[in-house]
């Protein structure tokens, strides 16, 4: 008599729901990911305010200054103090002039750490004013509480 060899049952799980969920998760993260946050800096924790609203239109020729808690100023990846900031600002102004614009057209965005001394921010504003810059934007995070 011929004996039939019984093959062992391969238990195959249905992967469809898992793949569905995974694709949904990917879609979720893709929608929420924001690569434009490159202007943020880990050394800066912004103060919060109930009145600030995200700008509806981007500011014209922004120059972003990050001010860390110890007073160091970060501009375009380089670190400055209030004494050396003029060098960095002049570099930015050279770009501005190449685009046939005046320093008064530029916007200095100051992203100051919440615990930095206010005098430090004033010094930065003074240095910028000496370089003919006059538009400033003090950045704060939106307080929804």
């Amino acid at each position: 008599m011929r004996v039939k060899s019984k093959k062992p049952d391969l238990a195959e799980g249905d992967l469809t729901p898992m793949i569905d969920m995974t694709f949904q998760l990917i879609a979720f993260f893709m929608v929420l990911i924001n690569f434009s946050q490159t202007e943020a800096n880990d050394r800066v924790v912004l103060p919060s305010s109930q009145l600030v609203k995200p700008p509806t239109a981007p500011l014209e020729f922004p120059i972003i200054l990050h001010v860390a808690q110890d007073g160091e100023i970060i501009l375009g990846g380089d670190t400055y103090t209030t004494e050396t900031l003029t060098t960095g600002l002049r570099r930015e102004l050279a770009v501005l002039r190449a685009e046939k614009k005046k320093p008064a057209d530029a916007n200095i965005i100051i992203r100051g750490h919440q615990n930095v001394a206010a005098g430090q921010i004033q010094e930065i504003i003074r240095v910028a004013q000496e370089n003919e810059l006059e538009r400033f934007a003090l950045r704060a995070k939106e307080d929804l509480s």
Binding site: I26, L51, K53, P54, I121, E134
Partner: protein, 159 residues
């Protein structure tokens, strides 16, 4: 005679392993790079170097003066608005601003009241933003922003 069908229909099964691998890689990438974004906004200040603009001759054009004092650690100890002592209460500051300026919408452009913030060097920046928030406006019952003073400037830094 019974004819056995030896050749059963072949089942074509897609190999999902490589796709799932890539999908999981993508998922891990997005999870790792995901950062909850906090909404940010700006307080705009137009502050040309002193002396460039015309001097104000009219006494009524003089800006309101807000003085902030702190201890050596940067903690706010007292505030005064045009010599009115406000303690450290920003709500009081806002109430005083409303009484001085009125709750009407400020004039656009270069008109409208102006405030000069004169602060000790050590005052923490967060207090400055709180003060600017208090003088710039408030949210009414319907969550609409009522603007108070839009022209803000800083006095010379105190060392």
């Amino acid at each position: 005679m019974k004819i056995r069908r030896e050749v059963e229909q072949e089942k074509h099964e897609l190999n999902m392993t490589s796709m799932i691998d890539i999908v999981f890689l993508l998922l891990v990438f997005f999870v790792m790079t995901f950062k909850i974004v906090e909404m940010e906004g700006d307080f705009s200040i137009r502050m040309p170097l002193a002396g460039n603009g015309g001097q104000t001759s009219d006494v009524t054009d003089l800006p309101l003066k807000l003085r902030l004092r702190s201890d050596n650690d940067g903690n706010l100890t007292s505030m005064s608005l045009n010599e009115i002592n406000l303690g450290t209460d920003f709500t009081k500051l806002r109430a005083n601003i409303i009484s001085l300026v009125g709750s009407d919408e400020p004039a656009e452009g270069d008109d409208g009241p102006e405030i000069e913030i004169d602060t000790d060097y050590n005052v923490r920046y967060a207090y400055i933003i709180q003060a600017i928030t208090a003088v710039s406006g408030y949210k009414d019952d319907t969550n609409q922003v009522v603007k108070l003073i839009e022209r803000i400037k800083f006095a010379k830094p105190r060392r």
